[in-house]
């Protein structure tokens, strides 16, 4: 009897365990399913969110002293008060707190968020928080336990080895013990409030084919469950990641990947060639366009729109350029690393293989590594840490290190030419993503991401939308129902213009609205990129200017808007600029035989940069090596024009 009983129990355990492991990623209680929307497209509203955020589960974030969990990160993002461990705050912000916990609350809640921890050895480092764990006892564990920059580089080095395998069996085991993917999935589901706050099951694929070279992608699932991540240890080739994404789709889960920090890709993200070195072919272009409909254009490690070198005629190109991070003695190559050039290269590749591989809408994000996603300039703690300015403002040595006035422990790197590597001042305040969606839920927001009806801002809540079409009335924005007309007679940003009627030039209608609690707008611009043989050209048009300014026909430029920042307080007097800007713009250079890309950029009037806010709060001098004020901005996803094949000029 006893023995038989034992057998039955064993069999039950075995069956139960199998069942448990196949179902483990499904929450016990599913969130209420949202129904497909029946709303009209003109009822779409702008929702703001974060699509790139790290917590204690990321190996590097742990090494930086982060303790905030994915669950806490979501709660903070949606506006709840979160108690952050004082030890984290002490390391990152230099705050000496009495208690063990510090209350943190975001200045304003986000509408949606994806925690995207590094999938490689997900959660492994948390095993070091338990001194009795096997990982803590191992040689590499003891080395990594010291934390800080050295641990970051040591752990980072393990990730660079494709197939990882024998270099870090202890890391693998520790990751298995941490059961990180379940932690992530549970946190996303537990914090999803359809209608109010949307979360995404997500992770970061951290491909680094060389020191400091980013080929990273964020993988966002439209589901409450997902298979285990495909990591850069499995393969550091995007083509292999796309195979995994295809297999996920075959399981009925929609998914997309978002490349980011192309500015640090050393020319690889938008290379002419595939991973195997051969030129991009049609199959690659199709697969890439399917899997990567978006690109992150700005975040704390700099903007990826363009640079003054790539766009010498763009007077606003010199904005939050980060070119000295973890790359040794040279800066990453610019060609092949920036989005605007990618739009041009996409047209070139399309003219050769028939498909545009770089047909990407834009998103913005933080890439903050301490779990606290913030986007206001005065809530940025430097490097890749967010903070609650009321309770966590860096002071003393923390502030000095953030402003590059003191070295962090273990920090290395001044180049032979005197440039400081990994310069703290080059870090930028965080960016965010805007989407035009019917409702705040996974289905609606994911659909908006997929159709690229998105925009990115450098952290402020500028709302901007753009449409293209052939039959727009030049006075349409004076009508209060113009959005309805625009959807009916044209296409929203992220789309293709329909075929051109003979003899017509496209019109673009655009409206931008300032952050309701922020600075006024300087101007709205449309940036056009078009194909010229095997190359491309670009031009920036001012389409709406505040304060009655006009473009000087001789220079093609308008006067600067001015600057109302008080550098003793960091405050902006909103006495210049406009609260809303709108325009209906007809492309005066349109050629029906030439493929082209159009996207909008909206600039705010100057406001204080994070470095200025931090220096003023600490009575420190405002750093001279960084601009004291910046023009925060928004970029829309593009609208593409492709002539019928027969009409393309050779």
């Amino acid at each position: 009897m006893k023995i038989r009983g034992l057998w039955i129990t064993t069999a039950l355990v075995a069956v139960g365990a199998t069942a448990a492991f196949t179902q483990v990623q499904t929450p016990a209680v599913k969130p209420a399913a949202a129904h497909p929307t029946t709303m009209q497209p003109d009822a779409r509203r702008a929702f703001f969110g974060e699509l790139h955020l790290h917590t204690v589960m990321s190996f590097d974030a742990w090494a930086f002293g982060t303790k905030v969990t994915p669950d806490q990160a979501y709660k903070f993002a949606r506006g709840e008060t979160v108690m952050a461990p004082a030890s984290q705050v002490a390391i990152q912000q230099g705050v000496r707190g009495g208690g063990a916990l510090v209350a943190a609350r975001r200045a304003w809640p986000l509408d949606f968020t994806a925690v995207t921890d590094h999938s490689e050895y997900l959660g492994a480092m948390t095993q070091l928080d338990d001194p009795t764990s096997a990982f803590s006892q191992s040689a590499i564990g003891k080395e990594l336990s010291k934390g800080g920059q050295q641990a970051f580089f040591r752990a980072g080095a393990l990730l660079h080895v494709e197939g990882g395998g024998e270099t870090a069996p202890e890391m693998k085991q520790a990751a298995a013990a941490a059961d990180g993917w379940n932690v992530e999935v549970k946190a996303a589901n537990a914090n999803y409030q359809p209608g109010k706050f949307t979360t995404f099951v997500a992770y970061e694929w951290t491909s680094s084919p060389g020191q400091g070279i980013h080929m990273h992608r964020n993988v966002i699932f439209n589901s409450d469950h997902a298979p285990n991540p495909f990591t850069a240890v499995d393969s550091n080739k995007p083509e292999d990641l796309w195979k995994y994404l295809a297999s996920v789709r075959r399981q009925g889960i929609d998914v997309l990947a978002i490349p980011h920090n192309s500015n640090l890709s050393d020319g690889r993200d938008f290379d002419w060639n595939m991973s195997d070195g051969r030129p991009i072919d049609e199959a690659y272009a199709l697969t890439r366009a399917l899997n990567e409909p978006l690109v992150e254009i700005a975040q704390t490690k700099g903007s990826s729109d363009t640079t003054p070198e790539l766009s010498p005629n763009d007077e606003f190109a010199n904005f939050e350029i980060m070119d000295r991070v973890y790359k040794g003695e040279t800066s990453p190559r610019q060609h092949g690393s920036y989005v605007r050039e990618a739009y041009g290269r996409g047209l070139v590749v399309q003219s050769q293989v028939g498909v545009n591989p770089f047909k990407m809408g834009v998103v913005g994000a933080s890439d903050i590594h301490n779990g606290l996603t913030v986007s206001d300039e005065d809530s940025f703690a430097g490097r890749i840490s967010g903070l609650d300015k009321k309770t966590m403002l860096p002071t003393g040595p923390g502030a000095r290190a953030a402003l590059g006035m003191a070295r962090m422990v273990g920090e290395v790197g001044v180049r032979p030419n005197g440039q400081r590597e990994n310069d703290p001042l080059q870090f930028s305040g965080a960016a965010i993503t805007g989407v035009w969606a019917e409702e705040n839920n996974r289905e609606s927001i994911f659909a908006a991401l997929k159709r690229k009806e998105t925009f990115a801002t450098t952290g402020t809540r500028i709302r901007v939308r753009m449409f293209g079409g052939w039959g727009f009335n030049p006075a349409m924005t004076s009508r209060t129902d113009w959005v309805k007309q625009a959807y009916a007679k044209g296409v929203p940003m992220g789309s293709d213009l329909p075929a051109a009627p003979a003899g017509k030039a496209p019109r673009f209608v655009l409206q931008a609205m300032k952050d309701p609690d922020g600075a006024n707008l300087d101007r709205a611009q449309i940036i056009k990129v078009w194909l010229v043989g095997k190359d491309y050209r670009e031009r920036v048009f001012d389409v709406a200017l505040s304060g009655g300014r006009k473009v000087d026909p001789k220079t093609g430029r308008a006067a600067a808007v001015g600057n109302t920042v008080d550098l003793t307080t960091g405050k902006t007097a909103n006495t210049i600029g406009a609260e809303t800007l709108s325009a209906v713009w007809r492309d005066p250079t349109f050629d029906p035989h030439t493929p082209a890309v159009y996207y909008a950029r909206v600039l705010e009037i100057p406001t204080a940069r994070w470095t200025t806010h931090l220096a003023i709060a600490n009575h420190l001098p405002i750093p001279k090596a960084a601009p004291a004020t910046i023009q925060e901005r928004a970029w829309t996803s593009p609208i593409w024009f492709t002539p019928p094949k027969a009409a393309v000029k050779g």
């Binding site: 039950l12 355990v13 139960g16 365990a17 069942a19 448990a20 492991f21 179902q23 483990v24 016990a28 209680v29 599913k30 969130p31 209420a32 009822a43 509203r45 702008a46 506006g79 304003w108 809640p109 009795t132 764990s133 096997a134 085991q173 520790a174 298995a176 013990a177 059961d179 298979p227 495909f230 499995d234 292999d240 195979k243 995994y244 295809a246 297999s247 809540r461 709302r463 939308r465 924005t477 004076s478 009508r479 209060t480 129902d481 113009w482 959005v483 409206q511 931008a512 609205m513 300032k514 952050d515 309701p516 609690d517 922020g518 304060g547 009655g548 406009a578 609260e579 809303t580 709108s582």
Partner: protein
């Protein structure tokens, strides 16, 4: 794989001598059993059974059989990870890797490497926890249970104040702040009393003109922490009022209805309540299951020199 040691300790010599003692009944029974031939026979049988099993187990360790079903599983796993089934050569490699892994695994177990290993221990604990959660799915609540649960946790479902309103927007143009405000006032004077929606009397607003159930926090997020946001929850309802300033310009406002913070009827939040009920029931079931396991154990706190049943 280790040998079996059967240790019978008889700690009182007087039990053998048959001296009557308090509490000696069980012991006498045991003594009779020990002299019973049938018992000897059973012991012999058990020994044979164990020896046979041990022999087979030892032989099985060094025999690895690759079944078609297992190969099919390996192939499926590969396809899941890489998006396509392996070709013949790859599959061979996958099988060989799997066999080698199995060899190392078995050899490692022979060497008892799975014992006293914190990771193995944690993994087993984790599996056991998953098992508990899945073996005790909570029952669906009946209406009475759901209502009782809701009554107990009603404050958790309280809704913030809400307003249904329409607005007309007046952008501040090149003619300045006062001009926009004046246009708004002029428009207010001209709106007929029976009109409840009239965005066309103002300028284009890049978000919606009508909101059906906006909370104070949502109004602030869209319109800024401004006079307009306050007016939505303070101004008189059922008529056009204003103009009020938002983060974008001037607005006329028509608040149709407003509801104070309230506890909604169960019917409006049934799905959420049901989900929370099931989660709570699951939590209770898990705790009960853990208690049941705990009851099987006796925890000896040698550090305190006191024995007591756990969970008591």
């Amino acid at each position: 794989m280790g040998g079996w040691t059967i240790k019978i300790e008889i700690n009182s010599p007087s039990a053998l001598s048959g001296v009557r003692q308090p509490g000696g009944r069980a012991r006498r029974l045991l003594l009779r059993l020990l002299t019973e031939p049938l018992f000897h026979f059973m012991l012999l049988g058990l020994a044979l059974f164990l020896a046979e099993r041990a022999y087979h187990a030892r032989a099985d360790v060094y025999r690895i059989e690759v079944t078609p079903a297992h190969v099919a599983q390996l192939s499926r796993n590969y396809a899941l990870q890489y998006g396509a089934p392996p070709d013949a050569a790859t599959l061979e490699q996958v099988i060989e890797d799997d066999v080698r892994e199995e060899m190392l695994y078995r050899q490692g177990r022979t060497l008892k490497l799975d014992q006293d290993d914190i990771i193995v221990r944690r993994r087993i604990v984790q599996k056991e926890q998953f098992l508990i959660e899945n073996l005790h799915p909570p029952a669906e609540p009946n209406p009475a249970q759901l209502a009782a649960y809701y009554a107990q946790h009603a404050e958790h479902y309280a809704t913030p104040a809400r307003a249904a309103f329409s607005h007309i927007f007046f952008a501040v143009g090149p003619d300045g702040e006062a001009a926009a405000q004046a246009r708004a006032k002029a428009a207010l004077a001209r709106i007929p009393a029976d009109v409840v929606r009239a965005p066309e009397r103002g300028d284009a607003f890049p978000d919606l003109y009508d909101f059906s159930a906006f909370e104070p926090e949502q109004v602030e997020r869209l319109f800024g922490r401004t006079g307009f946001a306050r007016a939505v929850f303070e101004a008189p309802t059922g008529r056009w009022v204003g103009p009020y300033r938002s983060g974008y310009g001037w607005h006329l406002l028509y608040v149709d209805t407003r509801s104070p913070p309230a506890i909604p009827p169960l019917s409006e939040v049934r799905d959420r309540v049901r989900g929370d009920y099931l989660q709570a029931a699951q939590d209770r079931a898990n705790a009960t299951a853990l208690d049941q396991i705990a009851r099987r154990f006796t925890v000896v706190r040698a550090d305190r020199d006191v024995a007591r049943p756990s969970g008591g």
